[in-house]
Amino acid sequence: MNFWLELLIKVGLALAIMLPVALVVIFGELKISAHMQSRVGPYFAGGRWGWAQPLADGLKFMQKEDLVPADADDRVYKLAPYIVLMGTLALYVVIPIGPDAVARDLDLGVFYVLAVSSLSTLGVLMAGWSSANKYSLIGGLRAAAQLIAYELPLVLAVIAVAVQAGSLSLNDIVNAQASFHLFGVESILGRDVTWISSLISPFMILQIVGLVIFLVASLAELSRIPFDMPIAESELTMGYLTEYSGLRFTMFFLGEYAGLVSMAAIAATLFMGGYSFPGVSEDVLNFLGPVILLSKVMFIAFVFIWLRWTFPRLREDQLQTIAWKWLIPAGLINIVATAIFKVAF
């Protein structure tokens, strides 16, 4: 098959699967946040439970005028939302949703993920810079500072996983988790105990420090509360989004939630066993894998939403303190501990 045709089909498939998931997460955020606040949230759009609210919002945004401030850097301003959306969508390429279902199984999958996930911050910085708005500028610069502070813990958390799994390919990491045996013990007193170890096989338990670091860092990366300083609507009105309207705002909005889904998918893949589930054979996984992965993604997304609607926002300097004084040392210790563990057992 033509390479380009294949690529097009794969990109189309990734979009067709992941954008609805992002819409579901948007709807989930609307509903969950509402019920956490004794409200009902969307109710009328689409009939039952207001399920069509995200679509209706999208349609509404499409009708709005695409405003560009007079002083804005026109081209950069218009390009920024595409970069944000591209940065998040490009992540879907390497996430395996089944033993054979992955758009592109890169040997350096983890490396690719880390590199591409910081691309969207560039878009944010561009948006903040080009808007010709002081609030946007502060928001964009905060996003850049946040990226620098949080890319490092993210990488450190992932390195420990890579060390544990012995591979940088996401598919191999999933396989390593599926076939992982705690302390290498397969039998005790002649009895087969692999079922015990398979239950706790995902790195979630062994790499609990890494998981926490990864989740905190990805919250900062996604600029969600408690790390939403680049947006900070009570300080910077809407940060780098202040001047955006219409379709371009929709792209940022979608990019935010697509980013949430992709970050959750990566966390699920790296720490929670991805598409695999203890006790489910590989043949079944080709069908059930996407569902298993999706449920793990939804769980992580729920945790993100839960945090978002419980906590206030930190200050920029406090965020830096957390990153440099707590997460990075913890990540380094985690790597050392993982390495010792790996060598010892």
Binding site: H35, M36, S38, R39, W306, F311
Partner: protein, 159 residues
């Protein structure tokens, strides 16, 4: 200070907060779906002013006492036949126009309070929004209609 508690375990505040939001997630929301279901306003609620044209004597007290002068009244004197044959011809004030500009009204209720003949009442009805600000001027027919929505005054606490 009562509020500044030292946490015993790390992030106690974060955990109690998250527990509270999780609990609320499974509670019944308090929202009232307005067009489908309605709350009953309390009897004293100042929703809209109703007019009893029979009781009005065009004394203009309400229009004069209104803090932003949003009541417009016009009337004329009508001669009525004497009660008895050969008696004096009586005049009776008749209401021609009684408009309240609800775009201007600030719902203080002074007009209801000063009316010496009990012609004005508060009705808790609140559903009379209009699309244009000029349509908020309601004439006496509309005000009379609201008379049917005036509730009985509530029973009182023992004094």
């Amino acid at each position: 200070m009562t509020g500044r508690k030292m946490p015993t375990l790390p992030f106690k505040g974060l955990r109690t907060g998250m527990w509270l939001t999780l609990k609320t997630l499974f509670k019944k929301p308090v929202t009232v779906h307005y067009p489908l279901e309605k709350e009953t306003p309390v009897p004293r609620a100042r929703g809209v002013i109703a007019l009893d044209t029979e009781a009005c004597t065009v004394c203009m007290l309400c229009a004069r006492e209104c803090p932003d002068w949003c009541i417009y009244i016009e009337g004329h004197k009508e001669e009525q036949p004497p009660a008895k044959e050969g008696g004096r011809v009586r005049t009776r004030a008749t209401l021609d126009r009684f408009d309240i500009d609800y775009a201007l009204c600030m719902y203080c209720g002074i007009c209801v309070e000063v009316c010496p003949f009990d012609a004005l009442f508060w009705s808790p009805d609140f559903e009379y929004s209009e699309l244009g600000i000029s349509e908020m001027m309601h004439d006496k027919d509309r005000l009379t209609y609201w008379l049917s929505t005036v509730p009985d005054p509530p029973k009182l606490e023992s004094n």
